[in-house]
Symmetry: C2
């Protein structure tokens, strides 16, 4: 996608992206060209907000009348649940918010696009999910959204490996309850042939992070997918690729949802 010039003026409306750290976010550079192509005078900017300052910053964002909403990345996706004035049913089900929009009445409503984005990203790269067995490392944030989306998309099974197994068990139970079948279970980070392996932890954001699972367990029958978009190829993907596995960057999860989000954000008229 060609970077479009942004001409910010007094009438420009603001979409934020909040997180800590923030430098890795890809939303501004992927969504701004879409706003420009739609002829929307909206600019998306990164807002570096730590967990301890979230409540104060949230109240401040609400007081900025030409702010139409914001994307949410780590570590705020769960905290946003209690701060939103209302929640879209999917955000409530997932228990995490990744987009907040200012509605026509001025309230902040929480939405969830991560799962849809991940699934759309895989399908856009030619990876069908129907009937596939999946292993996901991580049980928070994006992981929860992805678990629900994989179930809805018709994947055959999901094993969830988490540092704290109780969280994986709770997630598996919630997904199974929602889809009415025995789809997910808590397990170990032990891949099996033919699986789609998903890193849904933040391991890989920092070059010094350990790998989320042992790369020597990966083989060429597997597809290894990331939620991390920066670096576009994480150490896990590099190691998996070297072992002959198919790899799938986290960038596709962002690209898979960003046009949905752009349409969603540009839709309501906010007072300026």
């Amino acid at each position: 996608m060609v970077a479009s010039p942004i001409a910010v003026d007094g009438s420009t409306r603001i979409m934020g992206v909040i997180g800590d750290p923030i430098v890795q976010v890809m939303t501004p550079q992927t969504i701004n060209p879409i706003f420009a192509a739609r002829g929307a005078n909206i600019v998306c900017v990164p807002l570096h907000i730590g967990a301890r300052e979230l409540d104060t910053a949230w109240a401040g964002l609400k007081a900025i009348r030409n702010l139409i909403g914001f994307g949410i990345t780590l570590p705020h996706k769960q905290a946003a649940l209690r701060l939103c004035d209302s929640l879209d049913p999917l955000a409530k089900q997932v228990g995490a918010v990744n987009v907040v929009r200012r509605e026509a009445d001025g309230s902040f409503r929480g939405y969830q696009f991560d799962g849809k984005g991940f699934v759309r990203g895989l399908k856009g790269q030619g990876h069908a999910l129907s009937g596939r067995h999946c292993l996901m490392v991580g049980a928070g944030g994006a992981a929860i959204a992805i678990a629900f989306a994989l179930a809805e998309e018709g994947a055959a099974s999901l094993s969830i490996a988490n540092r704290t197994p109780a969280k994986a068990e709770a997630l598996a139970a919630a997904v199974n309850r929602a889809v009415g079948r025995s789809f997910a279970r808590s397990g170990t980070a032990q891949p099996e042939p033919g699986q789609i392996i998903i890193n849904a932890t933040s391991l890989g954001l920092s070059a010094s992070d350990p790998l989320p699972l042992a790369a020597n367990l990966v083989d060429e029958t597997m597809l290894v997918a990331e939620v991390i978009a920066k670096p576009e190829i994480t150490p896990l993907l590099e190691a998996a690729g070297a072992r002959g596995a198919s790899i799938h960057s986290g960038i596709h999860m962002i690209r898979g949802q960003v046009d949905l989000i752009a349409a969603h954000m540009a839709e309501p008229q906010t007072e300026t």
Copy 2:
């Protein structure tokens, strides 16, 4: 100036401009090309904040770590005095803040560039101030900054016409005290031949506003100057031009200070 493309990414730092209304601000479109030309990854965006939400929004802005500061327009220039953690001596003297910068220690310090900007703008258009007699309508916000700057620049005299004369008297006294000469006085909006006439009120922002002074009192010996930049030619300037006076748009006050502000904002390293 050619509009430069802005490529916002996760590392971009934010400069706001706060005000109510906000659509008229010209800072984003004038300062963003300067940041780009300097190679600074900074984007200036308008933030629409009303007076009643200022304290909440201010605390929120402080909690956004990659926000390097903000410009201030009506009606917040005085309220910012009590909200800033410290004040530059000129901002204190003027009693109004038009730029807030996050210092290396994280604190918000208030600065004042309006007067310098106005004077630089006039000089940039070939209008010397030394020895000139001036009439200014308005005694708040930008007016105060301009009064001090005119005195420092060697103007001969300043008559200040304000709806509330006590405010004009207080401003005249403060300026005279600061410069140690009888320079300013409170007066009526009655221009005299050869004067520089300055509208330093917000009258003219709205097409429905009354003129700040009777246009039929203006003649071709006078220079009529504005602080309002949008519309670039206000009804006052149009009427004054039609009567043969020289006219000077408020846009020059912005252009006169924006390169100073860009250098000032890009200077300190803020944590991101």
